[in-house]
């Protein structure tokens, strides 16, 4: 192939890439545009493609009415449950890898927990939460997300810990470190890339959950996806709220993709390779 043909090929690929990226981006652009449009622009016919200005009225309304608390609730439940699931899952995965605790059966049983569709166990969990009096509390939702993400964390961390050479741990033990210290000073640093990728996904899962939040919250700890669906009614005037609230849920994800793309790509492909 000569140089000219190669150049044309690259140009064609770039053109395709721009078109594809635009198609994937457009719905999110449309959502963002609605969140900053005036009501007149939202309900203009034919639709307004580019907002005339950058109005944050929709967002201001959410903060004034207190609806924005839902985003804070999402942040607390997703954040705390991620930390818990990572710590509990990490030490459990280590136990499974290094000591073969429970043999293969325990590992397979744990991952099979993830196969069950949430709706199938939603009602018994709801009853359990009623009897524990933790419906509509941070404790309840955090506990649920922790439990729900644990199988994923254990499965992923199992793969990452398996890659760590045993000699490193042994020499640390010989140096006089306790087993507990080895876990945090040798194993964790050695698997930190995988640990971080898994944590990012764990956070995303909890951040994006709808069904459990719908069932297990009422008003106090309602999360942003539940809040968004609350605006869909007979009244179409809530469009700007839908746009603004959704964007508050999307913006952290844009940040995550922007700063941690490497980990997300790694996490996705790892999940499939080791799954």
């Amino acid at each position: 192939m000569n140089r000219g043909a190669k150049g044309w090929r690259l140009a064609a690929r770039l053109a395709c890439a721009v078109a594809v990226a635009a198609m994937f981006l457009f719905p999110i652009y449309w959502l963002a545009a609605i969140s900053i449009k005036t009501p007149e622009e939202i309900f203009a016919y034919p639709p307004v493609w580019i907002p005339s200005g950058f109005r944050l009225d929709g967002y201001a309304t959410l903060f004034r009415d207190g609806d924005a608390w839902a985003v804070w609730n999402s942040l607390v439940t997703a954040g705390v449950s991620t930390v818990l699931a990572m710590v509990i899952g990490f030490i459990a995965a280590y136990s499974i890898v290094r000591f073969r605790t429970g043999g293969d059966h325990l590992a397979i049983w744990i991952i099979s927990q993830r196969m069950i569709p949430p709706i199938c166990v939603a009602f018994p969990i709801f009853l359990l939460f009623v009897s524990l009096r933790i419906v509509d509390t941070y404790t309840g939702l955090i506990m649920l997300y922790t439990a729900f993400n644990l199988p994923y964390v254990i499965w992923m961390m199992r793969g990452f810990i398996q890659e760590i050479p045993l000699e490193l741990e042994q020499s640390a033990l010989v140096d006089g470190l306790s087993r507990w210290a080895v876990l945090w000073k040798v194993v964790l640093p050695m698997s930190r890339a995988g640990f971080f990728a898994t944590a990012v996904f764990t956070f995303i899962f909890a951040w994006n959950d709808f069904l459990f939040a719908l069932i297990l919250t009422r008003s106090d700890v309602i999360t942003y996806p539940v809040q968004v669906t609350g605006y869909f009614g007979s009244q179409s005037t809530f469009w700007s709220k839908i746009g603004a609230m959704s964007m508050l849920g999307v913006l952290p994800m844009i940040f995550v993709v922007g700063t941690m793309q490497r980990f997300i790509v790694r996490g996705f492909s790892m999940g499939a390779v080791k799954g």
């Binding site: 280590y94 605790t101 069950i116 709706i119 439990a147 507990w180």
Partner: protein, 298 residues
């Protein structure tokens, strides 16, 4: 002090240590995983509804009812048909995208970042966004179609029985094609370049190269990706919840939506438990069958 030393001693004892490490995880999974499952099976044999709280053993009445429940089988059919429609499209589009981005390209990282954005946003947001996109009057989709067709269109995407499924399919494909794309991109990157080039020199056809070199390299990864996505599609709930709510009528009711309606709207607790057990049983059988097939193939 004495407490910390006893913990310290336990940590030195390997046997105690390994169980201490796994205990919290097992406790949490037993509480939120196993307990609800057992409760579910028990409930399915009782008779608990909105009006009744009969906890005695009622035999298989709820399981018998499953067979005559047209709405249930319809929702299962919707789920299966939608999975069968969405998965091949996502694989094909994901594969084409992976080919497009396989070789180095300027700004590749940025393009990939933009494309994978839909995958990390909440399905509720995805559903809401597409509902706004598909709005017959204020949404851009009808405008684009009108522009292409050259005449005004008023397609009721979220109401018309013949348009609701295509609309949901668009949202689903938009959100999850990037997942297939990333996985196939990683798999294709691992295909041996020299082998491909020598096949080309030997004059092997495109189809031949694909079947003999590319396909074997991506099949194992693709299999797991399909399994993950298929299990996701069985629990399809959020996107439909925001776009159509299962309607019009029960037109877009999936098994998850139907199970939700039965449990939380009609309070048919025992019957919904039987439905849940049926789904878990069928999924387990399906997954075991799929894994066996792979083992045989290997």
């Amino acid at each position: 002090m004495s407490q910390s030393t006893s913990i310290g001693r336990a940590l030195d004892d390997e046997r105690a240590f390994k169980y201490l490490l796994i205990a919290p995880a097992v406790f949490v999974i037993l509480l939120i995983g196993l307990y609800p499952f057992i409760k579910l099976i028990l409930t399915s044999f009782q008779n608990i509804t909105m009006f009744d709280d009969d906890r005695s053993f009622n035999g298989f009445i709820h399981y018998a009812r499953l067979f005559g429940d047209d709405r249930l089988w319809e929702s299962l059919l919707h789920t299966a048909a939608f999975t069968a429609a969405a998965l091949p499209i996502e694989i094909l589009l994901g594969y084409l995208l992976a080919l497009l981005f396989l070789d180095p390209m300027p700004l590749k990282r940025l393009f990939v970042a933009v494309i994978l954005l839909p995958t990390v946003i909440s399905p509720i947001v995805a559903g809401s966004t597409w509902r706004l996109m598909f709005d017959h009057r204020f949404g851009p989709i009808n405008q684009i179609i009108a522009f292409l067709a050259g005449e005004e269109v008023k397609l009721l995407w979220t109401v018309d029985p013949f348009l609701v499924w295509p609309a949901i399919l668009v949202a689903e494909v938009w959100q999850w094609t990037p997942f297939m794309f990333l996985i196939l991109l990683a798999a294709l990157s691992n295909v041996d370049r020299e082998q491909l080039e020598s096949a080309q020199i030997d004059g092997a056809s495109w189809l031949m190269t694909f079947r003999k070199i590319v396909l074997p390299a991506i099949t194992p990864v693709l299999f797991v990706a399909v399994l993950i996505r298929a299990l996701d599609l069985v629990r399809l709930f959020d996107v439909i919840w925001t776009m159509t709510g299962g309607g019009p009528g029960t037109r877009t009711e999936t098994i998850s939506i139907y199970a939700y309606q039965m449990a939380f709207r009609e309070f048919e607790i025992s019957y919904s438990s039987a439905i849940a057990f049926l789904v878990i049983f069928a999924l387990t059988a399906l997954v075991i069958f799929a894994l066996r097939r792979v083992e045989i193939a290997r």
